[in-house]
Structure formats: structure tokens, C-alpha cells
């Protein structure tokens, strides 16, 4: 398929694909097993300028947008979404600064993120606040020229490894959703430390860790936008980041399809390669169809967002929901096509199936995506006066 990418977009794809094939693929099983953070790979991506593809040129980026980010994520995800998640999570941490940060904040933080010198992370989730961000307990209290943060963030991707954290905390509990604010916290700030590192089902190379704030003292100018805008900052961030999760899913699906077709052409049973059996062919056909549909959706959504459109919440949720459900089906079927081999750790598809599950959970479960889509439909059709009957 030709998606009419520009020359620059094509280059991003090529470089990310080269890194994925030559550097990520050979070590993905080892990283999965050791659960080590892929620092070597992050350094390679930094040297190849991948961390800046979606950031403006004035902050050291390459001036691309959501589509450029998605292209890099997809190609990396084709080899390993544990590694690709690590890459993408830095972007997730940067988006609140890019979208709502002050000029000073952008100049201070975005160039080091764009160069890959420092990784970023985004911290909303807590033990009692997942889908319901209203349950956030972490507080930020203004004291003169400083804020004091207290509380614990949970399951933070890139936790402990990133240097720059965007953290959502409650500044005024009485105001409910309008009482949350977003802050930039740096590794090394007094009172900021890390809790336990989680052991996960998949994406094991990605670091998932607690952030502990114990009278963490940060300068007042670390507040993003104004007090009370924390939820808006979060929602706007997810609006632009969710197609990236879709891109992880497309890459993963493609990677699983690649292996499945290659295997089915080689594996001989009953005297024939199993791809000659319709039962297998149809499985592969469905995998290819859904993967391509997911890709077309992610690219279309990314382009729409990059056009500067404002009504992006529904499309962004759709571009996360569909590809990630596809990735779960495609990777499950990849294991099925490979049969007993597929279930063995010596072959990469069992890891892909384990990895796929998180895509339906993080950055808003797929049930939450359906809520967003449903609510937006209700609003949209509420505005339309005509009847379709």
C-alpha cells in the first residue's frame, strides 16, 4: 500500500525500520527475559534523531507531527513493542509541555527530549485512580515560590529511567475535576524517589515503576498552564497520543503477520506447506485485512490531528480502540498458525501475544475508549437537528 508519505516521512520509516530490524529484533527475546531497560537502543534512537520527529524545529525537533511520531512507533513496534513503548512514552511525557507549557518550559525541556539526551514520562495513574482520574490522591500545595507534592503514582512507564516527569496532582480538592494541576518534576528533585519496579505479563523491557512524592519541593514555575487545568492537559495529551498506541498495535500486528506468513509457507504437513490449506489461508487473510485497516485508520486520524482540527477526541479514541483489538486477535492467531511452536519461547509470537494485551489496557482501557466514542456520538448527534429516518 502507498500512503503517499512525504520524502521526510519515508526517511523516518526507513531509519526506524533499519533500527528495528538490525538492532531491536536480535535482542528482543533477551530483553524480554532479563527485563532490562533498553538503554543501548534508546541511545541508538537518540543518535538517529528519532526522539524529535514530532517536535517543532525551534525546540530541536524535526518539525513533524502525530503522523511522524506514529510512523516511527509503528516500525519500532514491528520488532518489539516493549522497546517501542519506551520510546513512545517519552513523547507522552513531552506532549503536555508541548501543548500547554510556557515558552520557558518548552525551551528548557523540549530540546533535551528531542535530542534523546533525556527521557520523559507522564504520571496520572494511582492505585485508586485508573480509568477514574477523579480518584487522584496526590496533592500539590503552594508554599511561597514552591509547590510541595505528596502522594504515590503507580505503573508509570519509564519510571526511574526518565529525567523529566509530567505529574498530575490535586491543588484544590473542593473543585473536583477542576482542582487538578499538571507539574514538571525532575529526577533528583528533593523528596522525589522511586518505588518498586513491576513484573509484568508483557513489554517486560519497558520500565513500570512507582513514583514517590514525600514533601517533594519544586519551584512554582514548574506548574504547567494554570492551577485547575490538570485534567484538560491530560485529556488533550491523550487526544494526540492515542493514535501512537494504535501505531504500536499496527506495528505489532504487522510483525506477527510477517512471521505467520513466512512460517506458513515453510511449514509442511500432509506433504504441503500449510499456507496451501484454506483454513490457514483464511486466518492469514483476516490478519492482513485487519492490520491494513488499522494502519489506514491510524494514518488518517494522525493526519486529521496534524491538520489542526479541534474535534479529535472521538477519532483519536477510535484510532486506539480498533488497532489494539486487532493486535490482540492477530497475535493470538499468529500463535495459532505456528501451533506448538507458537507457544514456545524459542519463537517470537508468544511474546507478541503477551505484549499485545497491554495495548487494550494502557492510555485508557478500550472500554474507556468506547465511553469516549459513545459520549462524543451523543454530543455530535445532539447538535444535529435533522432526522435520518
Amino acid at each position: 500500500m502507498d500512503y503517499f508519505l512525504t520524502e521526510e516521512q519515508q526517511m523516518i520509516k526507513e531509519i526506524a525500520a533499519k533500527i528495528a530490524t538490525e538492532k531491536v529484533r536480535p535482542v528482543r527475546a533477551e530483553l524480554d527475559e532479563s527485563e532490562e531497560f533498553p538503554w543501548d537502543l534508546m541511545k541508538i534512537m537518540a543518535q538517529s534523531d528519532l526522539f524529535g520527529v514530532y517536535l517543532p524545529e525551534e525546540y530541536g525537533g524535526l518539525g513533524g507531527g502525530v503522523l511522524e511520531n506514529c510512523l516511527a512507533i509503528e516500525e519500532l513496534g514491528r520488532a518489539c513493542i516493549g522497546v517501542a513503548t519506551t520510546y513512545a512514552a517519552s513523547g507522552l511525557g513531552a506532549y503536555p509541555i508541548l501543548l500547554h507549557g510556557s515558552e520557558e518550559q518548552k525551551q528548557k525541556y523540549l530540546p533535551v527530549i528531542a535530542s534523546g539526551e533525556k527521557l520523559a514520562a507522564f504520571a496520572v495513574t494511582e492505585s485508586g485512580a485508573g480509568s477514574d482520574a477523579g480518584g487522584i490522591q496526590t496533592t500539590a500545595k503552594r508554599e511561597g515560590d514552591f509547590y510541595l507534592l505528596n502522594g504515590t503514582k503507580q505503573w508509570i512507564t519509564n519510571g526511574g529511567e526518565a529525567e523529566i516527569y509530567t505529574v498530575v496532582a490535586i491543588t484544590d480538592r473542593a473543585k473536583g475535576a477542576r482542582g487538578a494541576s499538571a507539574f514538571i518534576v525532575e529526577k533528583g528533585d528533593p523528596g522525589f524517589s522511586f518505588g518498586k519496579k513491576e513484573k509484568k505479563m508483557g513489554i517486560c523491557t519497558s520500565a513500570t515503576r512507582e513514583l514517590l512524592f514525600n514533601d517533594c519541593k519544586i519551584p512554582a514555575d514548574r506548574l504547567i498552564s494554570r492551577e485547575g487545568t490538570g485534567f484538560i492537559v491530560t485529556m488533550k495529551t491523550f487526544d494526540v497520543s492515542r493514535p501512537g498506541i494504535g501505531a504500536l498495535a499496527v506495528g505489532l500486528s504487522q510483525g506477527a503477520l510477517d512471521i505467520s506468513v513466512e512460517y506458513a509457507r515453510k511449514r509442511v504437513q500432509f506433504g504441503k506447506p500449510i499456507i496451501s490449506f484454506q483454513a490457514v489461508q483464511h486466518m492469514l487473510a483476516d490478519m492482513a485485512t485487519e492490520t491494513e485497516a488499522a494502519r489506514a485508520l491510524v494514518y488518517a486520524a494522525a493526519r486529521y490531528i496534524d491538520s489542526g482540527a479541534k474535534d479529535i477526541s472521538k477519532l483519536s479514541a477510535i484510532a486506539k480502540l480498533f488497532p489494539t483489538d486487532v493486535a490482540m486477535r492477530v497475535t493470538t492467531n499468529a500463535v495459532q498458525v505456528l501451533g506448538g511452536y507458537g507457544y514456545m519461547r524459542d519463537y517470537p509470537v508468544e511474546k507478541m501475544m503477551r505484549d499485545a494485551k497491554i495495548l487494550q489496557i494502557y492510555e485508557g482501557t478500550n472500554q474507556i475508549q468506547r465511553n469516549i466514542i459513545g459520549q462524543e456520538l451523543n454530543k455530535e448527534y445532539g447538535r444535529i437537528k435533522e432526522t435520518f429516518f
Binding site: M11, I12, I15, K18, I19, E22, K23, S48
Partner: protein, 275 residues
């Protein structure tokens, strides 16, 4: 002209890395008439050993400052190979292309490259891959040193600039490595132990697209037609062929112990003295 002795830190290094475009080894054909490689319709790649030379050059520049120029002799499409090196961060690229260069052996090739290097102005270090996968001669690097009248070493796995301005190289041998020290300017060929070639960078790649690559021919290098290409070559390939298998072969399978036992039995059956 190549400059004489220099001292570390007193001057920025100019490193020239010589690369070669070769046919992708997966589909090589040989013209039975001329005994040369058929290049038409065959995809070209950068000689894999040359990526280590490029990496060595970039590391040397990153460590000691200066610039890297990639140089190749070949048909106009060899420009693509040069752009690939620019995408890795090479600063300049020069293509030597002229119909008169065609059919050059290692003498004519190294002479042409040497004249180009002299023309590039003060050059402190010339780096080549250990050999090319098409001809496999490993002669162009040493040939360059001869034409430039400079010291050289081959199969280097490590390069270091000493405080006195000399180059210190670790040269891989079958039994370990030798430490070789020489004055700059010098020529070295490097092996894979020098370090994994880096990945291309997006910014470099975008710049590489637009970068002007000068093309120099025999006239620009003040070379006579009889000094270059087929005319300037002292050697000629008379015949290229796959040698016939010399004897029957037998693969011995099994674990190490079984293999050793079978091998011993076969050697005894063949009445090898002492067994």
C-alpha cells in the same frame, strides 16, 4: 598536497574514507568473455567491510575533531553509496567518475584515489575497509599508501592518536594483535572489531539528500588516459572460474565426541601415518 608531520590538538584532522560500491553478493554473474563482473541489472551495495572504515573515520573525527570525506571511484550511480555515508554523518563526499577509469586494476584504482586525496588538500589519515567482497584483493589500501608515499598498516581494530601526534594502531593477526605506531599522514585498513557501524541519523539523511557531491575525472586529477582504467592497469584477469572439487567430501555429524571418533576411524582407514 599531503602535509607533513602534525601534532595532536594543534590542528583539526581531515580523515578520508575510501569506499567501494560492489554488486550485492546474493546475485553475482561473471561475463565469460571478459572475465569481469556483470554489473548491469545487479543491485549494488556498499562493500560491507567499508562500513567499518566509515565508522572508524567517524569515531576518529568525533574523538579528535576535524572532518571526514568519503571518496569513491565508480560509475555515476556510485553517488548513492556516498549519500549513504553522508546519512551516517560523513561531512563531505567526492565521486571519481570517468569513462577512462573503467576496468581499473588495483594499481590504477589506488593511483587514481591517491591523486584525488592529494587534491583534497591536507589529509592526515586515510581509512579503507580490509578488502572488497567482489575482488577480495585487499590491495587498494596498501597501494594507496605506496602512491602517497606514506606509512600504512592493515587490519587495524583500534586507532589512537598519541600526544606526539603519531598514530597508534592495534593490528589483528591470527595469533593476537600487534601494536603499530606511525607518523601521520598515514593509511590504515580496518576490520570489524573497530566497532559496529552506526545507524543513519534523520538530520544527516535529510542534509545528505541535498548535498552537492563533486565529480572528478581524469583531467581534474591531472592523470593521463594511459595511467587510469584498463590502460593504466598492469594486471589483467585472464580467467574466472569455480575450481572443481578436488576430492570427495564427507560430512561428519553427531556431537563432538562422536565426530572425533568417526574422524579418527576414517583417518585410520585412510592409513594416515601415526594414527
Amino acid at each position: 598536497m599531503i602535509n607533513d608531520k602534525m601534532t595532536n590538538g594543534a590542528k583539526r584532522m581531515h580523515v578520508v574514507v575510501c569506499i567501494k560500491q560492489v554488486p550485492d553478493a546474493k546475485n553475482v554473474r561473471i561475463d565469460p568473455e571478459t572475465c569481469t563482473l556483470v554489473r548491469q541489472g545487479v543491485e549494488s551495495i556498499v562493500n560491507p567491510h567499508d562500513w567499518y572504515a566509515v565508522e572508524a573515520a567517524l569515531r576518529f573525527r568525533d574523538e579528535y575533531g576535524g572532518k571526514v570525506t568519503a571518496l569513491t571511484m565508480g560509475p555515476p550511480q556510485a553517488e548513492e553509496a556516498l549519500r549513504e555515508t553522508l546519512a551516517l554523518g560523513v561531512d563531505e563526499a567526492v565521486l571519481l567518475s570517468d569513462r577512462a577509469f573503467a576496468g581499473a586494476d588495483t594499481w590504477a584504482t589506488s593511483l587514481t584515489l591517491a591523486r584525488a586525496i592529494e587534491k583534497l588538500g591536507p589529509v592526515e589519515l586515510v581509512i579503507c575497509g580490509k578488502q572488497a567482497i567482489d575482488g577480495d584483493t585487499a590491495q587498494v589500501g596498501p597501494g594507496l599508501a605506496a602512491h602517497l608515499d606514506r606509512p600504512y598498516t592493515t587490519y587495524a581494530r583500534r586507532l589512537e592518536l598519541l600526544n606526539g601526534g603519531e598514530l597508534r594502531a592495534e593490528r589483528v593477526t591470527d595469533f593476537g594483535y600487534e601494536i603499530v605506531q606511525m607518523e601521520l599522514p598515514a593509511v590504515v585498513t580496518v576490520v570489524r572489531e573497530i566497532g559496529d557501524p552506526r545507524m543513519p541519523g534523520l538530520k544527516h539523511k535529510m542534509k545528505a539528500k541535498k548535498k552537492e557531491i563533486p565529480v572528478l575525472g581524469a583531467a581534474e586529477l591531472n592523470l593521463h588516459p594511459e595511467e587510469v582504467g584498463l590502460q593504466g592497469s598492469y594486471t589483467q584477469v585472464v580467467k574466472v572460474f569455480s575450481p572443481p572439487p578436488r576430492c570427495d567430501r564427507e560430512m561428519i555429524n553427531g556431537d563432538a565426541e562422536e565426530q572425533a571418533e568417526k574422524l579418527l576411524r576414517l583417518l585410520q582407514e585412510a592409513k594416515v601415518p601415526g594414527l
